[in-house]
Symmetry: C2
Subunit: 228 residues, 2 copies
């Protein structure tokens, strides 16, 4: 088997498993959050779970190469959480649909009891963009410290995302950061990307992110409603 | 051919090509700088080239998925620079020894005219750690905004590195950042890692990084000196 066939097989198998995951996920909204290491995914997740857990039934799937640090940070909110460690799968640089399938079983997603399932991917702005997990929406987090050129340098991630959270806006006064330049670069790559500026650590503008999730949850339920 | 054989073949071929690169590099010190996107590799490189270019003959190899932005930033210092765009090789998430071989030819490294060749890898804290390029030293850049837990979550990168540059220390007063915790985590992963704190954008402590490069250049020349 040639190398190119091997890679095509991996992608095909992943797509098939992602379709199976969609059936398990059912009426829940499933989102896949991706970013560079340290852009603030877990802090955004902490603040999101804190805000939404009285309104919705939430579960969280954490992805990392090593450690259960992120799952431990979410556990204190008393929502179901499962930590995928990709080192157990050979040290993968991204989550794949197989790993998420295992996690969905662990959180009993087949019982259809959740309104929202949030997956935090491995910190990597490249490889996770290639692997569908069966999610409804893809979200990319970019922190203001990473610079305005990232959408041009890592185009696929920004092309496939439905929304971008621009995090750590509290640091803007201390940086040489040009937001207009960033938004211009994003427009070149994906003019339909929903943009939300926020600071998870300071709790700033988290309500705009919450409103987007509310809308996505409503849209999914409406689509999934039986017609009779 | 099974999948595992395909990956083993890729790694084996890369090692062979890396050995060929070492011969082309010869007496020059070659360093491979790696980090997450936006940790500040290119700014460190700008300040480094600016400081060293009168003292040493320098060439730079830039790696990105797309754009020549980084090469353009280095060109203003009038040193030879070549931009590898991995999208031309299928959108790779890391540099490999083949790509660097092409770049070494483009900068005429076989003429043995350089003291130092600096390679800036694709922004990714995971995949580049697996691929030797024929370099003498591996350097990981971590910015203080990325958090103290990164060495534990991305262990391979910190295990294989010879030095870590902790960048953006000017932002520490605005962050909830615990340097002792970071250094404790690094010690668990790689107790021999050389640690240098700096702020490339503010020019702080760049002399410590320059001193390490001076030492590495001397060591390499000494090792490569003919004995007769």
């Amino acid at each position: 088997m040639a190398e190119v066939d091997v890679f095509e097989n991996i992608m095909k198998r992943n797509e098939e498993q992602a379709e199976k995951n969609k059936k398990i996920i059912g009426r829940a909204l499933c989102i896949n959050i991706m970013s560079s290491p340290g852009a603030g995914k877990t802090t955004i997740l902490e603040r999101t779970v804190e805000r939404l857990k009285k309104k919705y039934k939430i579960a969280v799937i954490e992805g990392d190469i090593a450690t259960s640090n992120d799952a431990n940070r979410i556990k204190k909110f008393k929502v179901p959480v499962y930590q995928i460690k990709t080192e157990n799968y050979g040290g993968g640089c991204h989550l794949d649909a197989d790993m998420v399938n295992t996690a969905l079983k662990k959180i009993n997603a087949h019982r259809k009891k959740y309104d929202i399932i949030i997956i935090e991917n491995v910190g990597n702005l490249i490889c996770p963009a290639d692997f569908s997990l069966g999610e409804d929406r893809k979200v990319v987090v970019l922190s203001v410290t990473e610079g305005e050129d990232k959408p041009l340098k890592y185009p696929l991630m920004f092309q496939i995302a439905d929304a971008m959270l621009l995090n750590k806006i509290d640091l803007v006064p201390h940086l040489d950061f040009n937001q207009e330049e960033l938004f211009k670069n994003i427009k070149k790559i994906n003019s339909k990307l929903s943009l939300i500026r926020l600071s998870a650590s300071h709790g700033t503008y988290m309500e705009n992110w919450e409103a987007l999730l509310d809308r996505w949850i409503k849209e999914k339920k409406w689509r999934k409603k039986p017609s009779h």
